[in-house]
Amino acid sequence: MLEVRLRHRFPGFALDAGFTAGPGVTALFGPSGCGKSTILAAIAGLFRPDEGRVTLAGEALLDTATRRFLPPERRRCAVVFQEGRLFPHLSVEGNLRYGLRRAPAGADGPGFEVVVDLLGLGGLLARRPRALSGGEKQRVALGRALLSRPRLLLMDEPLAALDAPRRAEILPFLARLRDMEGPPILYVTHALEEVDALADALVLLEAGRVLAQGSPDELSLRPDLPLAARRDAGAVLTCTVAAHDPARGLTRLAFPGGTLEVPLRREAPGARLRIRLRARDIAVARTRPEGVSIHNILPCRLVAITPSAQHPDEVLLRLRVGEAVLLSRVLRDAVARLELREGDEVFALLKAVALDHAPG
């Protein structure tokens, strides 16, 4: 368990944030300049805040009240930086072994070969960092951090410097990293797709403060948070791959409340994945429509109609399907035309191809 409480005054900006992070991936999410990288640096010991306390598994890494400041090399919080920061004078193998050689004798963690396999680095070991592509560099940086046997893995926008295809190439590796029994991961990002794909918990930051903390599924349903104002606002569903139907070119995903048909996916049946159902992609009908191309027609109950904070002519509809909740963004006029009331039974309509944007 990581507990963080930090205060620091910069010229024109004040950081005042507190949160906790458990096992798995905790995402620190917010716009650029909201202080998330500063928080990460303070946890790693690379930045000394005016005031604060950081404890990891009960041990204080930083406590300004008792003037405790553990140097970074004794915190064992490895960082994966946005720019990789590979050592240019060492080979890939030299980079990977740098932290491993310095890990305490009793420290537990995956071995060299395991990490090389996991991240697909076998063919790169003899190369110099300059001979690597951006995506390869980040995989090496990931491996190097992991091999230092950290008690906490800090990732500072590790995909931000990469283009979309490279990001899609690395994300599955990050997911594999999360799914092995590794150290807790604190993941700083301003990309929602990374939160959706990786985060078990979410800390929302804005202007140096924590707006909310909770599960990503829960927070993405809250209309009061800036998440709801984004173009890609919507519910996040945790699904399992039920079956593939290559003949029809689609995959069936099961979620607590029904099934979704989406364009054919690569994951094996039984695999768990998170799908963002963008509110703007979901339409609502009073009666089950006939003769439409839409694959997903889900009977649900309209539980809430919330005016949108950003668009005066729009509302957010909260729809319950079994145990799951979906969000739909429609014009106020649609509510009036269909005479929608909270408690009504309606059908949520979702095109299959609206769901091909998820990474992986």
């Binding site: 010991g45 690379l46 064992r76 919080c77 960082v79 920061r85 240019p88 004078h89 300059r130 190097r144």
Partner: protein
């Protein structure tokens, strides 16, 4: 090989110059790295003064530097006297004195190059190394030092090439003793002052020229190799 067309005395001067330049560079390297580090990374009140002091030999006339060394390390000087009394070391008029004078004159050249080398080291890499479990000294030895190696080597080669030709400070502090303190430039000077010494002066000047040119080309070659090695080329 040289003895074929150089007199014994001329060959000795060439050899002494090479030896003195090498030794002066070796003596300066450690302190130069330390001073460069203090100047780039240090946060202390006297930094400005240290910077000026280090660069003094570049702007003060070499004869003055030689005179100052004579005052300090002379038999009755505040450093020279105890050196002789306690350790029986007498510097003046020895080849060690030549080394000391050459080292002092070359010091700012090495510091400047090392400093450039250090400034080119990305502190982010050092921070990354520390989060991977390396302490300050460990990081300096395994990350900082290798990455500033191009600067260190460039400084060493330039100081070596300049050290072959140090004149004013050497002749003032160590005098002009053939076989002991008479380096290449001193031998050339002596030859030009000696009737019939024109041929000697020309030969030694030619050697000076070749050594300097070779040194500079070597420096460039090393710099290119290093940059490729560090993945910057």
């Amino acid at each position: 090989m040289m003895e074929g067309w150089l007199s014994a005395e001329e060959a000795q001067a060439v050899w002494l110059s090479l030896s003195v330049a090498t030794r002066s560079v070796l003596v300066s390297l450690g302190p130069a790295v330390l001073v460069a580090w203090l100047l780039v990374r240090g946060r202390f009140p006297g930094r400005f003064l240290l910077d000026a002091l280090v660069h003094l030999p570049l702007v003060v006339p070499p004869v003055v530097v030689g005179w100052a060394l004579l005052m300090l390390f002379g038999v009755r000087g505040p450093i020279g006297a105890p050196l002789e009394e306690w350790f029986g070391i007498r510097l003046v008029f020895t080849s060690d004195a030549v080394v000391l004078a050459t080292a002092v004159m070359g010091f700012p050249l090495i510091v400047r190059a090392v400093r450039l080398g250090l400034e080119s080291v990305d502190e982010g890499l050092e921070a990354a190394a520390r989060t991977l479990g390396a302490g300050r000294w460990d990081v300096f030895v395994t990350i900082t030092l290798p990455l500033m190696l191009p600067g260190i080597l460039a400084g060493a080669v330039v100081a070596f090439a300049a050290g072959l030709g140090e004149f004013g400070a050497v002749i003032t502090f160590a005098s002009n003793v053939p076989g002991e303190t008479q380096t290449l430039p001193l031998a050339i000077y002596t030859a030009t002052q000696t009737p019939g010494g024109e041929a000697t002066a020309a030969r030694l000047a030619g050697i000076s020229f070749a050594l300097a040119l070779g040194g500079l080309m070597l420096a460039e070659l090393i710099a290119r190799r290093m940059h490729r090695w560090l993945g910057r080329g």
